[in-house]
């Protein structure tokens, strides 16, 4: 195993056995990483809500959160001794394919013979770089998550230091390629784990679903060691080809020591459908950029977000729904429950291009505060350049309702039972749109655990 640091030398080391084009991309990303200052939470508008929002005292604001973060404290690594004792979780048994990764190092891949026969490609990204050079060259950080963003929404940084860091040092992650017309009826499962103290996970995820294909991916990000400090700087790129049907579910449950920075982007082609579920439970500080680009006529996407924060967790999410073409539709519903002194900020933007008439775009963010000291900021936004558009947006934040609690307790429920029922009910509009029973159950389980601690 070679533990490294975020230096140019280490970029060279990582890239030494990689194709020349990848080496160049890494170095380009590194140059950008070096040139960009660490995001400043008072001067940089986009990062303004990535800190403690309760105080207007700027000095204290910067002291909290990002100020406590230093990239030097974390380490990327290559050739980590795979701790092969890590078992593939039981719930993967009926999956059509499984990938397990630990500390950025690939541990296990399986794919059903049937899918292999249909030329479905499913592999960790380092292996894919050797086996599918062309494919990666085409898609890797070129069309979705790019160093210089092509997004129009102003709430997502044009150039992001963490995307650059990721581009330079990425390790692990996976590629899923579903060829034209292949319909994968059974979900694929991915487990991404952090274990080592002060380790950095830099997984890159690439899902490419070709024309008329169909696939479901369930991805689970979590910590093996609840105490170990860590960093995640990740990227997700999803391509739903013409008339494809893609469901991508990511459950994030890093431990409370992990700094989590991620850029997630999906490009949805003509008549394609994307169902995207993002569930956030873990992390110390989370800064997530999530965008969908509805590129082809008739493209449709659902963005479902479910988050539950506690202790001093901080979750900052920026979403963008970009409608490039006519007859596209998107529907975002993010619901967050906050406990203790946790804080969340959600800023959403719908951007409708001039040509994108007959667009339907919806956006809703609701927050339920279980404690007096929790804090939620919510900022919906619209930018509409076309004429024939149906858009709605809305946001709410409210404390748990005393009358609701009283009503339930008057029927014999304890406070904890009443609170749980109200929380479950609050998440229900998201849950009922989550496509699979097993996923709903898993999410329910996480919610219950959050309430118990």
């Amino acid at each position: 195993m070679q533990k490294g640091d975020f230096s140019k030398d280490f970029v060279e080391k990582i890239a030494q056995d990689e194709p020349q084009w990848m080496r160049e991309r890494r170095l380009e990303a590194y140059a950008l990483y070096e040139s960009l200052p660490m995001p400043h939470t008072t001067e940089d508008d986009i990062w303004r809500r990535t800190v403690d929002m309760r105080t207007q005292d700027y000095w204290r604001r910067t002291r909290r959160h990002l100020r406590g973060f230093a990239v030097e404290n974390y380490h990327p690594a290559i050739g980590l001794n795979g701790d092969t004792s890590v078992e593939v979780p039981k719930d993967s048994e009926d999956a059509a394919g499984v990938i397990l990764q630990l500390d950025g190092q690939h541990q296990h891949t399986s794919l059903s013979a049937e899918l292999e026969k249909q030329d479905v490609y499913f592999a960790d990204l380092n292996t894919a770089l050797k086996e599918r050079d062309e494919l990666l060259r085409d898609y890797f950080m070129t069309k979705a998550v790019t160093l210089e963003t092509t997004l129009k929404s102003g709430n997502i940084a044009t150039r992001n230091k963490f995307d650059a860091l990721h581009g330079a040092f990425w390790q692990g992650g996976y590629v899923l390629y579903v060829p034209k017309g292949v319909r994968v009826g059974v979900p694929l499962r991915v487990y991404i784990r952090l274990a080592e103290e002060q380790h950095a996970d830099l997984s890159h995820i690439l899902v490419i679903a070709e024309e008329n294909s169909e696939v479901v991916i369930l991805e689970d990000n979590s910590s093996m060691n609840q105490e170990a400090g860590g960093l995640h700087s990740g990227a997700v790129e999803i391509f739903a080809g013409q008339n494809a049907n893609v469901t991508y579910v990511q459950v994030q449950n890093w431990n409370r020591q992990v700094w989590n920075f991620a850029s997630h982007r999906a490009v949805v082609s003509k008549d394609a459908h994307l169902c995207w579920v993002t569930a956030t439970f873990g992390g110390r500080l989370n800064k997530l950029n999530q965008a969908i680009v509805l590129e082809g006529n008739g493209a449709n996407a659902q963005m479902l977000g479910l988050a539950f924060t506690d202790a001093r967790q901080h979750l900052d999410v920026s979403t963008a729904q970009e409608h490039v073409s006519p007859h596209t539709s998107s529907d975002l519903l993010y619901r967050t429950v906050l406990k203790d002194r946790s804080q969340t900020a959600w800023g959403g933007n719908i951007y409708v291009y001039p040509a994108a008439n007959y667009t339907d775009a919806y956006q809703k963010n609701d927050n339920l505060l279980l404690s007096e000291r929790a804090h939620a900021d919510t900022l919906p936004g619209l930018e509409i350049q076309a004429h024939e558009v149906r858009c709605t947006h809305g946001a709410t934040a409210g404390k748990i309702d005393t009358d609701q609690v009283f009503y339930l307790m008057s029927r014999g429920l304890t406070y904890a039972q009443a609170e749980k029922l109200i929380v479950d009910g609050f998440f229900e509009p998201v849950m009922e749109r989550v496509p699979m029973e097993s996923v709903r159950e898993e999410l329910q389980e996480f919610v219950s655990r959050k309430l118990e601690t």
Binding site: F406, S410, R411, G412, L413, G425, E428, P429
Partner: protein, 267 residues
Amino acid sequence: MCNDLIIQDLHVSVQGNPIIKGLNLTVKQGEVHALMGPNGSGKSTLAKGLMGHPFYEVDSGEVIFNGIDVLELEPNERAKLGLFLAFQYPTAIPGVSLANFLRIAASAVRSAETNGSENNELIPMREFRKELRAKMTQLGVDDSFARRYLNDGFSGGEMKRAEILQLAMLEPKIAILDETDSGLDIDAVRIVGESVSSLVGPELGVLIITHYPRLLDYIRPQFVHILLDGRIVESGGWELTQVLEAEGYDPMREKYGIAETVQENTI
């Protein structure tokens, strides 16, 4: 009898305003009492105070139920002892189905532990469903109710029927019905009236808060009490409702020296 609800010199205030000002009342298991009084006289305040709503502050007095001073107990502990309140304005709980909620509630009040600690043991699903379906049929409640979210988008009448369904499922010893008849059409008043009277028996005592004697046609109270300005000023039998019907509250206000302007209309 230990299952009596005994209220002695009760004082309840809301946001610092005294509303219930020295109220005495005993409801025994098996008895039917009616409580009538003008808008704003404190009927719902009494009901919520008895059930333990945190905004309704009990300043002094005693409430003994099952031989226990319940004022120290949480609402769920009171429910477990067998106290039930059918709300004048039931609260909507979006996303929570009536069936799911009722299963947890019924399991909680029936569990053996009496200390109010959490009981995660639920009544087996099949058993619960069977019982729920039977009671729904009995009360003429539509099947679809079970799957609907609790009081969410229910019509006024549907809410009241759902309250009675809960009463039937939770099998309390003393039930307070706070204007369960208002907002109901004539047929619904009959259905609610008949279902409540079918539940009334030696095991159940009720305190019916109402403005209309119509409901009382179906459930004849043995006792009728008049609440004016936070106190029960008169108690009697059925004939008292007739007096009210004929004369209204004014003669009584005059008799007890209570100005009408004190009352605030809450509707």
